[in-house]
Symmetry: C2
Subunit: 403 residues, 2 copies
């Protein structure tokens, strides 16, 4: 069984390594040996033993009937989308780790795969090595999924963990994350929540069976989280995490990416460093959580190779949960209900009565070492209601949602 | 599509409820409606709407060609084993939640299922609603699994949690667990670790592909855990959990069930109350954890029904990881290496030199309020070595392994 790998970057070289290190057990489980015949990359890798398999022309792969599975690990929407579509149309299974691609054109590519009777698999696109997509598609099938809340971005979770436990400020931890290779030189996609947004769009599509457009999901990053916010969180016995959330409210789904205060009793509270986790609530199952390495060369490659094995073992089957091209209209995030933590400039004594009169039975909190400001947590209210109340104040320093 | 449910106890009534509440979505996912045609039970349930489906004669089910799936949720080895075998031989798929059955005769039943070309599925037998078996069988397939460590028994985890966080003693929490319905009148199977032992035997069989006899697994329960032990654990910043563990050491597997001290940085540390969790380490994946309700009517029934859906969707396939009837010889637990926490009667000052000379670079610990004793943690050593050293002391109050 011969495969081609598109892109010899971090994940691509990991795929080659996993297939090599675990060659024998993979052969036993897949029922046949899986061999990398081509690696497509613009670059050459003189001295690397992969060099003899490097090709620069995709047509070579497309027209080679020996290639049964194409592994797309280039990242980005184009040319990945064109390459994947061509592979599917040529009757080849495709496995990808590319969340940007799946969030953007997953519905179309699934439809093409279904028409062609081949598999389009993308477990590694969400949660790296955490097998959440297959769990939703083949294990949690007796349940109406009422909520999925994930820590889906390792870079920001590393940063939030450092800020929480070490008291470091945002800029310091960002530089540290960049120095450690956990954050890119341009960290926008991570710190602004764009990466997590694409992943929750994919999860929302899977549980709804319809296309959720990632551009419809309200997304707020971690760039405004300060050491002061963390001081309040510690005082509250809570943590601050960038959560990507999809909730069922009646017949509608809502979705959001934002920093949230998370209580110590929540399973996501203790998910630290670069680890990811996905919390799932089913109407029969109750609470479950899947935890693991959300990124990294080998964990991601492990998920890619598991998908290759699945494609080889199930050549005639649509093994991935299908979602249609019908677009799902999400409930506006403004109608979703939650509690809000607010930091306000001024003296609590002077403002307490007004705050209570506007927001109702709030819970006040003061953090040691912070003067001239105080915090409070509102009762449950919808975002619209909160915004209306908050608009009347000029002295709100920051608002963070409470999970 | 018609099924029969054997046993209308907690799980059996849960299965009927899940199929009823989620009827429409299950129909959509399975591709056909799943209807309970018979419920086998010795009892009658007058007034219950299931009564009209109650039968007392298993032959009625066996000989009814309409029945495609038999759900065995009676518990115990016999007559469950006979019933399951007959169903498989009659060409019916079988789904079970019965860990005693699977641990005892799983290998034989899998062989019969394979011969007959039907499925024998048992996701609910380990970890209730946590989809760990299918994850191992179809998601983590690119990895050599190096370790599985689980909190696999909700009753004992509830008790350990109460003892740790509330300082209650063993007898008090046992009574409370019994009053809450979390422990049975005869709690032996839970508190002595027998239940967890059967579950880790099943997991060990799945990752090795051979039959692991649960009777070969060293098993120690929680009955000797005291409030004093918990005081030391708190002092150490650790928790005490009943762990069921299977580890790969070179080409061999070892397995054990025992209370362990678990550090705060371990993902299992914060798994509390009746929740279960399974920690998995793969050679490529790294660390992962699956968390959820390990027991309870609806979570377990959710897993059973998910297996029924899988059987319906994959009628011609062996979808469960197969293990052969070849018996796996486990490495003796006496050869496994770990650290040991020891509570010793006497004054630390008087014994410190002797302890250091026997056990090496130990870490001493004293817990507030406990006089006339002290604790220490040994360096890494094998169980045999520990036992040899410990045998020379008459004043060891308790030993707990350190994860």
């Amino acid at each position: 069984m011969k495969i081609a790998v598109l892109g010899y970057g971090t994940v691509g070289s990991g795929v080659v390594e996993v297939l090599d290190v675990n060659k024998e057990l993979i052969k036993a489980r897949a029922g046949k040996e899986i061999e990398v015949k081509y690696v497509l990359d613009l670059r050459d890798f003189p001295g690397d033993k992969i060099q003899e398999k490097i090709v620069h022309d995709y047509d070579l792969i497309l027209t080679d009937d020996e290639i049964e599975v194409v592994v797309e690990v280039m990242g980005g929407v184009e040319p990945a989308n064109t390459f994947v579509k061509k592979a599917l149309l040529a009757g080849k299974h495709v496995v990808t780790s590319n969340k940007a691609l799946v969030a953007k054109t997953g519905a179309q590519l699934l439809a093409v795969a279904r028409e062609q009777g081949v598999n389009f698999l993308f477990e590694a696109s969400v949660g790296g090595g955490i097998p959440i997509l297959r769990a939703l598609g083949s294990s949690l099938t007796a349940d109406e999924i009422e909520e999925i809340t994930g820590i889906l971005n390792g870079t920001t979770n590393y940063m939030m963990t450092k800020m929480f436990y070490e008291g470091a400020d945002y800029q310091t931890v960002l530089k540290e994350a960049q120095a450690n290779g956990y954050a890119e030189a341009d960290p926008t996609a991570d710190v602004e929540g764009h990466d997590a947004c694409r992943k929750i769009a994919i999860l929302s599509s899977i549980i709804s069976g319809k296309m959720v457009d990632f551009q419809d999901i309200y997304t707020e990053g971690i760039t405004k989280i300060t050491t002061e916010d963390m001081a309040y969180a510690r005082k509250l016995g809570m943590n601050i995490k960038l959560l990507a959330q999809c909730r069922r409210e009646g017949s509608q789904l809502s979705a959001m990416v934002a920093p949230f205060l998370v209580g110590a009793e929540h399973p996501l509270y203790s998910v630290n460093d670069v680890f990811n986790a996905v919390f799932v609530k089913g109407n029969m199952l109750g609470d479950a959580m899947f935890y693991g390495s959300g990124a990294g060369k080998l964990p991601t490659a492990s998920a890619v190779v598991a998908d290759v094995i699945a494609a080889v073992k199930n050549p005639d089957k649509d093994i991935m949960n299908f979602w249609s091209m019908d677009k799902l209209e999400l409930e506006s995030y403004k109608d979703t209900v939650k509690r809000f933590f607010v930091r306000m400039e001024g003296e609590r004594e002077a403002l307490e009565a007004r705050v209570r009169s506007d927001f109702g039975a709030v819970e006040f909190v003061e953090a040691g070492g912070l003067s001239g400001e105080f915090g409070f947590i509102t009762p449950m209210m919808d975002e619209k209601g909160y915004e209306e109340k908050a608009d009347a104040y000029r002295n709100i320093l920051h608002m963070i949602r409470v999970e």
